[in-house]
Amino acid sequence: MDRPGLEPTEIDLLLEAVFRKYGYDFRSYARASIERRVRQFMASGGFASVSEMALKVLNDRDLFSRLVRYFSVPVTELFRDPQVYRAVREQVIPLLKTWPHFKIWHAGCATGEEVYSLAIILKEEGVYDRATIYATDFNDEALERAREGVYGAAKMKEATHNYQAAGGKASFSEYYHSRYDAAAMNAELRERIVFSTHNLASDSVFGEMHLVFCRNVLIYFNRGLQNRALGLFTESLVSGGFLCLGTKEDLRFSEVNSFYEVVDRKARIYKRKAAL
């Protein structure tokens, strides 16, 4: 932070250059977070300034890919916020059951922990076979790990605890098998999941959905991009479909607020009103 006056401008130039050259748009990301990531990436790569780094990124696709992965922050957990899964189990699934077949979209699924967590709930409620689950992210590397569904064994203790807090009906260990220091999620949890690349900043609507999960992704966007993503969800949800956001993300101040009613305020579960 030697030149606090200059650096924000250099960061603007970096993001603009990345957009023009590679088509990835980080200009509308939440500023303080993305600046932090830029500065850390700069330090880790030994660059003297953001401008120097920008030039290298423009001329080196591999470096660019690493930067994108660094911006993506695929940090997630199995059964993060257990009360949310409990609310889905108790308040959403009974209504999903009224459709003979339903579609779920996990937007920004990172390495997939959230997708497997919900799959377990669907199994336990006896509706898994009626679901088609789309798990998307713009980070290919994270998606690949989601597809594999192998997580660190060290995480299983907390996951088990959270699974129980989410109202789990079985023993959590039934859903994975241990391999050395890793835990591989059961392949049958994956049967109805389709993993694919989708960028909320540039891609368009993704089918007709009955439930959209987009948790802790919007916090990385500015208001404009948040409204774009929420617009996609609103367009793709059937009337009576559900939207579930992160526990610190709120629809109240968004452009789409009037299209929803609150199902569970704490769990940030909303229901798409019938189109007028």
Partner: protein, 198 residues
């Protein structure tokens, strides 16, 4: 030290083990109508569900808010970082939250808040590091100091866990070392002309 207050834009406070007690003393000393926003990172158990904010709310005269992402920062309100989220100050005067990796084994991290505050408000920041058994906040204090802000460490001698203020002092970013009671008094005086005769 005499401060007129007009140059300050925000107060940021970081605490860990033993910090809640000091925080209570400081926040209780702030008068209704205190003219700056106060942003607090206290290391919490990840499952804390607003309990900490309610606790502070009972002690303080100012409103205590556990903010949502993009919440507009208002003067005279106390914002506490939610468990399991980093809290950042944005230049446009809103709060940003993130679930980035832990920093110094902590989320929320004090460094993350303080460094963002230094970028958002520069010399307008008052940063206070309280009791804790960690080194979180030491870099953030330095960033605030380098930006020209006022940096205060709770006196390690009176802190439940002295390591955190000590680490900040050792890193070189601390301007004043004060007891929690005196921090409260100093803050309360920042924006108000002292009463005649006191």
């Amino acid at each position: 030290m005499k401060e007129t207050g007009t140059r300050y834009k925000a107060v940021v406070i970081g605490g860990s083990a033993g910090g809640v007690e000091a925080l209570g003393i400081i926040l209780a000393a702030l008068p209704a109508g205190f003219a700056l926003p106060v942003l607090v990172v206290q290391h919490l158990h990840p499952s804390d569900d607003g309990g900490f904010a309610s606790h502070l709310g009972r002690l303080a005269r100012l409103a205590v808010v556990e903010p949502c992402d993009k919440e507009i920062i208002e003067r005279g309100k106390i914002y506490t970082a939610p468990a399991n989220y980093h809290m950042l100050a944005e230049r446009d005067g809103t709060i940003g939250l993130s679930v980035d990796e832990r920093v110094n084994w902590s989320r929320p991290s004090i460094d993350v808040l303080f460094e963002s505050a230094a970028l958002a408000w520069g010399a307008g920041v008052v940063a206070i590091i309280l009791s804790g058994a960690s080194a979180d906040g030491a870099k953030g204090m330095l960033a605030v100091r380098e930006a020209g802000g006022l940096t205060i460490a709770q006196d390690p001698a009176g802190a439940g866990s002295p390591a955190m203020p000590q680490a900040a002092i050792a890193a070189g970013g601390v301007l004043e070392v004060l007891k929690a009671e005196d921090v409260g008094r100093l803050l309360a005086g920042l924006n108000f002309e002292p009463l005649r005769g006191i």
